[in-house]
């Protein structure tokens, strides 16, 4: 399992990293994007709790902004942690699909 603490597909930190993988976003844009691609609604408390953890671990970083809506971007360690977590999940998903007799994506 990924040592970065990204364990489940619906973990808020993992969802945030996936959302930031295609570019910087601020809090509201992150929540909207996550709702769109994962169907998970993250409230402000849960979202900023996860942002705090990720920033502390150096996986994301804030960008300078004059607005109150500060955007965040994924860092190289964040990209590496995300790639590792997704590879783990893909391996599990592939094994599960094969055992169900379904074709892995």
């Amino acid at each position: 399992m990924a040592p970065s603490g990204l364990r489940r597909p619906n973990d808020p930190p993992l969802l945030i990293l996936v959302s930031l993988a295609d570019g910087p976003k601020h809090g509201h844009a992150l929540a909207k994007d996550i709702e769109d691609f994962a169907g998970v609604t993250l409230g402000p408390g849960a979202l900023y709790g996860a942002i705090t953890r990720l920033a502390e671990r150096g996986l994301i970083e804030p960008l300078g902004s004059d607005d109150r809506r500060r955007p965040y971007q994924i860092t190289p360690p964040g990209s590496a942690a995300l790639a590792e977590a997704l590879a783990d999940m893909r391996r599990v998903a592939r094994a599960g699909l094969l055992r169900l007799g379904l074709k892995p994506v």
Partner: protein
């Protein structure tokens, strides 16, 4: 509902860093028509979680400061003094009376127990030291360890030479031999320097070791017990001297020391045990946090 009032759930430091951003997000969420009660609940839960994390980190940081390298140095010095002292005492002449033998036995026992505790403290940290050395940490402590080993060799060699030289003479000749006592003084000073250098080497190594919460908690308790054990060595030493020299002053000092230790030791040890438990609880509640990243974050905030 005023969104700003929701921030009160969060710790001040968190509010200073993220407060404005969270308020903007809350406002955007409210503008979209999300239920205010659910939002309020989520923010309150997030704030309480942050307060809990902050409290755990503060407790862990406090314990880390207390189980710092200085405590290691004290422990090492105490242990080495005890080890050296036990050798000196073991070679002391046999006492004439039974109660003097009891006093000497008590003294040697407290010295041995104290030295054993110091060794135990070192042994539980040994795996972390081995990992540190294997990870390429040896160059960081090599010079200090080299100096300490050199000083120990000089002091040990000097003491051994004196013991050998004294062995060939009668006690009366040794007592009248000025060079022997001068050499003993110099060797004793060299030994003190060696102990100091070992303490410095241990301090330098301890700064680099990654110890588990359980080991740190154990060291915390040991750090509270060992000074009291050293105090007991002083007490038994005073009683033994009183027994052999009939010195009432030494007896008064020993009893005073014993009374002080009896009052202070239980409190200190109890406090150390409670801190150790808090440390372990804090460590089990923050396992996914990278300490180095935390430190970096702390610098940004301040």
């Amino acid at each position: 509902m005023k969104p700003a009032s929701l921030l009160r759930w969060y710790p001040r430091a968190w509010r200073d860093r993220y407060g404005e951003e969270l308020l903007a997000l809350i406002q955007d969420t409210l503008d979209e028509g999300h239920p205010a009660w659910r939002l309020r609940l989520g923010v309150a839960r997030g704030g309480l979680r942050e307060r809990g994390r902050q409290a755990r980190h503060a407790a862990a940081a406090s314990v880390r400061r207390r189980v710092g390298p200085d405590r290691w140095g004290t422990v090492l010095i105490a242990g080495l003094v005890c080890a050296v002292g036990s050798g000196q005492l073991a070679s002391a002449p046999l006492p004439a009376r039974a109660w003097q033998a009891v006093a000497l036995g008590a003294l040697l026992t407290t010295v041995a127990v104290t030295a054993a505790m110091v060794l135990l403290g070192g042994l539980v940290a040994l795996p972390a030291l081995v990992r540190f050395v294997r990870a390429g940490g040896w160059p960081k402590i090599r010079r200090r360890v080299g100096w300490a080993a050199g000083a120990t060799a000089v002091a040990g060699g000097g003491l051994a030479a004196l013991v050998l030289a004294a062995g060939a003479r009668s006690p009366a000749q040794v007592n009248a031999w000025g060079a022997y006592w001068t050499g003993l003084l110099v060797a004793g000073l060299a030994l003190a320097v060696a102990i100091g250098l070992w303490a410095a080497a241990a301090t330098a190594a301890a700064r680099h070791l990654t110890l588990t919460a359980r080991v740190r908690a154990f060291h915390l308790v040991l750090g509270a017990i060992i000074p009291n054990a050293v105090s007991m060595v002083v007490v038994t030493l005073g009683i033994w001297w009183w027994a052999t020299q009939s010195s009432v002053t030494l007896l008064v000092l020993a009893v005073t020391n014993l009374a002080l230790a009896g009052v202070l030791a239980p409190k200190k040890i109890g406090r150390a045990i409670r801190r150790g438990r808090r440390l372990q609880a804090a460590a089990s509640g923050a396992t996914i946090i990278n300490p180095s990243a935390q430190r970096t974050h702390g610098r940004h905030r301040t």
